[in-house]
Symmetry: C2
Subunit: 754 residues, 2 copies
């Protein structure tokens, strides 16, 4: 092969051309960036510009011989590639020129190509076969700034709490025996209560600050300490205390709330029953008012009607028991009643039976148990009577006449717990990602070519692809859950039905996301991820059940979908249905008109990265699924198919709609959030994460979009390539992105992360 000597002007472009052409992605818009740079480059002569342009014809790419010349020229220069430079490729190019010619300045046009094409060292660091000085992370972004953005207005609460977590009682350890573990967790709980964290969401009169949003951030942070502690904390203060706060009235608050918040009165939340997992309305426990003694009798009718999986059941002195309230022979629906379980000596009171649920896959520091009540008598005042009470004359009274509405109002007050579970799941996912990625930025993996240094695990495309979209999702879900809690806590908007629907869907997709993420992290760490000391195994066991408790995900998704169907306006019924259908039919036809072949095959970067495209795609999916679902149900109902059977037939369709709706909601909420970020550099980073989330999600459901003709085959492939590309582009910042989660360093005890 003849050795070709290029002019300095040409030579400085050669490493760029070699990188661009050796890659798969040379789209029109990208060629455009390079062309503009060449045109604006005053260091080039006209002849040089012509030559460079001639090497940019997508339809007539440079010959292989030319490539080999380029490569040889670069390799022979013996230039060292330093990944840590601000513009590593531009600097490298300049140095190559200097090897063949005299000193040559850094070229601003090349810098612009490097930035605008998002070329990263891991694109090309093996390409030239030169010595490489590796750099694990770029210094472009500051993890503290990012963490600050995520903390938002809760920063003071979070910072103080993380400081407090330095107390050695929160040190992580392995506790295999459940009694030992439960003891440790109980002690930790008491310390949290003493410091006032338990009562945080309660009014000031009962030791709190009324800060439910702050409480949710604390809850997520507790996951960095231990999953069992998190759930125990949620049961005691959120569910037991929360039921007193939200379903009780002043007398209950005055009697119990302060003690509950201080963990001096331990209690449990006895809702779920063995035979009736997600069907609260169908629970069998009865609370029968006995006028003679002016008391309420709590009773478990059948062997399988016991309360089940009740957290804190073994430590509690009292339970908030959900039961069918029967007054004067009439069932007034489900209500909560405070029932003492044990005396001062912690002996069970008469009529009460408690059984340990035994060992579980995770959360073995939480004392779950079963509870049976055998004709247990409590005073009338123990009824938590905010939404329904028994008057002194022994009659039932409620402001809410419709029993259905009453039931949903009561349940609605507990939606905050559902947001907290999703946040805890998210916390678990962040923790696993931080560990797996810190490990992947340290561990070098073998490759076939023994001449080259072993690569960092994080430099493998498959590793980038398996972890980076999960990091992006964590950012999206963080902002979304923050916003949901804000809406839920907004006193100016008392109707919570919309946010209930939204939370039902989000809790499902986020807890599933958390499980998938933790599993992916376990596998990404190989055998190391399997060892308890590295924390991922525990997270896996603990977070697993989040998909089931506080509402089974499949049930919740159907709830969300039904909420969409009824357009958040009224409960689903055949009267309101036809008008919804008409409305939907209108909207869908409007939208459908916009999807033409040009649109469904648009593959340029500007379009694919544009939030307008993502929003349109998500909106289209939700509407389309709603419309077709409504049409199917209508057809069944017109044929006289019983509505129960009709809903059974469309069950998988409902689940698809519930998911689609939730993803759209998360994306839109996140994009709104990013617009509030003042600093441009950071805002653009957050928006890039949003783009990755959107494209990844569209990709996950590509078969649906393709079936609908919403995207064509070419566009689908382009989206896949863009997802891979974005993962590569984010590679230098991935370390900063997981540090940006703001997990306290002392909580990341996993040896593989260090």
């Amino acid at each position: 092969m003849e050795k070709k000597i290029y002019t300095p002007g040409i030579l400085q472009y050669i490493p760029f051309f070699y990188v661009i052409w050796s890659d798969d992605l040379v789209s029109a818009s990208e060629v455009n960036i390079v062309e503009k740079a060449i045109d604006g480059d005053h260091t080039l002569s006209d002849t040089e510009k012509v030559l460079l342009h001639s090497w940019l014809q997508v339809k007539n790419p440079p010959k292989n011989e030319e490539f080999k010349n380029w490569k040889q020229t670069i390799s022979n220069s013996g230039t060292k590639l330093i990944e840590g430079e601000t513009y590593p490729l531009t600097t490298f190019s300049q140095k190559v020129v200097c090897q063949y010619h005299e000193t040559y300045p850094l070229n601003e046009q090349l810098k612009s190509i490097e930035v605008n094409l998002g070329i990263q060292p891991n694109h090309y660091n093996h390409l030239f076969e030169v010595e490489v000085e590796h750099s694990i992370s770029a210094q472009t972004y500051d993890a503290n700034e990012i963490a600050k953005i995520l903390k938002g207005s809760h920063a003071p609460v979070i910072d103080a709490f993380q400081e407090f977590l330095l107390d050695p009682i929160f040190n992580w350890g392995i506790h295999r025996n459940k009694e030992d573990f439960r003891h440790v967790v109980l002690e930790q709980l008491k310390v949290l209560a003493q410091k006032g964290y338990g009562a945080m969401a309660y009014p000031a009169a009962y030791g709190g600050t009324g800060d439910m949003e702050g409480y949710a951030t604390i809850f997520e942070n507790l996951m960095y300490v231990d999953g069992s502690l998190t759930i125990k904390f949620g049961v005691q203060f959120g569910l037991f205390g929360g039921s007193i706060q939200k379903l009780g009235t002043k007398i209950h608050h005055d009697t119990y709330l302060t003690a509950a918040g201080q963990a001096k009165l331990l209690g449990c939340f006895a809702m779920t029953e063995t035979g009736h997992g997600s069907n609260v309305r169908g629970i069998k426990t009865t609370a029968t008012y006995d006028k003679k003694t002016d008391s309420i009798i709590i009773h478990t009718p059948g062997k399988n009607d016991n309360k089940e999986y009740i957290g804190n059941a073994l430590h509690s002195k009292m339970a908030s028991v959900f039961a069918q309230l029967i007054v004067n022979g009439k069932n007034e629906g489900v209500h909560a009643v405070l029932v003492p379980l044990r005396n001062k000596n912690h002996e069970l009171l008469p009529g009460i039976t408690v059984e340990d649920n035994g060992y579980k896959l995770g959360l073995n520091g939480v004392d779950n148990g079963k509870i049976w009540f055998n004709q247990v008598k409590v005073p009338r005042v123990n009824l938590l009577n905010k939404y329904g009470s028994i008057k002194e004359d022994g009659t039932y009274y409620s402001d809410i006449k419709n029993p259905n509405k009453r039931f949903f109002t009561m349940l609605g007050t507990l939606v905050g717990g559902r947001i907290c579970v999703a946040r805890a799941g998210l916390g678990g996912a962040k923790m696993a990602l931080a560990i797996a990625i810190k490990h992947a930025l340290k561990r070098r993996q073998f490759n076939d070519n023994i001449k080259i240094q072993e690569d960092l695990l994080m430099d493998y495309p498959s590793h980038q692809l398996r972890l980076t979209p999960l990091v992006a999702s964590a950012y999206v879900y963080h902002a979304t859950l923050d916003k949901m809690m804000e809406v839920y806590c907004d006193e100016s908007q008392p109707d919570k039905r919309k946010v209930e629907t939204q939370v039902a869907g989000l809790k499902s997709i986020i807890t599933w996301y958390a499980n998938n993420t933790i599993q992916e992290c376990r596998e990404a760490c190989g055998g190391k991820g399997y060892l308890l000391e590295n924390r991922i195994a525990d997270l896996k066991g603990d977070v697993d059940i989040f998909t089931t408790f506080e509402g089974d995900n499949n049930v919740l998704l159907q709830l969300a979908a039904k909420g969409v169907l009824s357009d958040f306006k009224s409960e689903f019924n055949s009267a309101g249905f036809s008008s919804v259908l008409k409305l939907l039919s209108q909207q869908i036809s409007d939208k459908l008109a916009m999807v033409n072949p040009l649109y469904s095959n648009k593959v340029d970067k500007e379009h694919l990265y544009n939030p307008k495209f993502h929003k349109h795609a998500f909106d289209y999916r939700t509407r389309r699924l709603t419309y077709t679902l409504a049409m199917r149900i209508r057809d069944y109902i017109k044929k006289g198919v019983p509505s129960y059977q009709a809903f059974l037939k469309v069950q998988t369709h409902l689940l698809a709609l519930g998911k689609a709706y939730s993803v759209e909601l998360a994306y839109n909420t996140y994009i709104e959030f990013t617009e509030t970020i003042e600093d441009t550099k950071n805002r653009e980073l957050f928006q890039k994460l949003g783009t990755l989330y959107a494209l990844y999600e569209i990709r996950q459901d590509a078969s649906w979009y393709l079936e609908q003709g919403y995207i064509g085959g070419t566009k689908s492939k382009a989206i896949r390539q863009r997802v891979e590309r974005l993962c590569t582009e984010l590679r230098p910042h991935i370390g900063v992105l997981v540090d940006g989660f703001g997990i306290p360093g002392h909580c990341i005890t996993a040896p593989i992360a260090h």
Copy 2:
């Protein structure tokens, strides 16, 4: 509404028409079945036939008014639906007629519709709003017959083994403390060894029967007892004993094999190192021949070069240590050397350090540890020298001159272990499915309509869809792994390279399948699935690591893909590559010609259920991915991109090919297997499972098929509907299908399964 009275001839068809039209699936081929039945029905008058035909126009369906008449007629008849009948709908129809008219015979034509359309009671049991006598399972198939087919020629071995497992020492229990747990497992291991099961795969001279295939079935069955026992068994007899058997020569066999098989000599298999997970060739431990003392010195050079996750490390007296063999200063590559670890009193020998790996996510009954060697001297004879030896004169000798080939030959002898791991994963999946499905056939779930009896969990479409394809996959993978072991053990075919490639891919997809299945079963059982007593939690923790050990799945898939690329002929190299490429290019263009728009939109049942379609779809995918992959690599190489970088760039493509290849292999192997089933009824059931597997897998990758234009949107939707339909059709047999796995009843201790 006017009440319409139909003639008996018409009336008997009405329940069928109501079911058919209320459903979504009325394809041309299905209408055809009904039309043929009507034409052949001699009980009908011509007028009646005309009327019935008029109700079968897909483009002009019966009016809603007509539907309501049908429904009212059926409901008013007050007929009870008995699901347990052989032909429940035909019998129901006959009874409806009898309510309005006189006695009327069972109609053979209706029976044929019922069978050929695959109409199942759970399609319609709520539809008529009549009383239903539910039946949990149909009696069409016999679980024992099915189990017998799966056992095949290994039935005597399996039956005897399952009988033996009744020994109370194998009773399942919860062991939280690792020392206690390891002790229990060790005792169980010794009992297995005493009974001869440990030595099973060894020659008769050493206590065995040379039955490696039988050994694999035992291995799977051990998963029904406990995962830790399974892995401990595999380490002691398969890996440690197996390395002596396969890498050693007569002197090693005579000295150690009998004792190893009897568990009198406990040993471990020290291959993996901390820093070099899946890179056996790159391990750092050295075995240096010292001519002066005629001995081999085993040494761990660096702190992180220790052996890692070594099972049996704490109980072993000896280790089979993989190390770089250095003879006269020359590195002869990786060889195995037997190294005593402890003396009779179980004290560590000088120079040896062992550290416990501590608690893990699962398998806590296995004593995994780390091992360091500090200049440990063993006699020359301890080299397992079947493929490479040090002669008396101190020179190295091997029959296999190429060090690469020698290395792969040694590793190849261990492929049996990889099949066993996949089988153990499969066993775990079967166990979880059996528990989840038995539970779903008992547990009734609430529904909104309180008038109707609560449905069985298994009657929900979403539940059918989440579990049934997983059952089908279990059948497919069972037959596939049986076949792989048969090929692997076939002495007449000494070249094992092809089966190695195949097993690499299958181990990956099957262990991933196992993990997904167990997770799905956990969630399908809700909170019950989370309790250890119900076994799924343990299976989850134990099987999890199967995706990583015996080769990380991502690494193995790339191995499989490279095997496909090189057409199983030679190691991948640039010389052989171009001819492979030419060959592939030829084949792909032949195949591509067959995909025309007609084919890509063919949606009739005959086509979609035809194995020819499935085979074609899988074959197309493998070839297409191979071709495009080869083209990409060729382009990179032509441009002078280093092959290491080129392979990095196509990494995700390689993974896709590895999966596609493995799925195709599994399906083809299974279909061949079904053709050997003599009994028609059972064969057809097995083939239906194959169809579900194929359509489910195509559906999983629908976005790819759509992108390629191999299937159109309509076909993609039709496949999705067929998957749901097949799940419903299999619903009455799902109980028998999991019983057909042949798991011993006494092993299914989960309370929820009873």
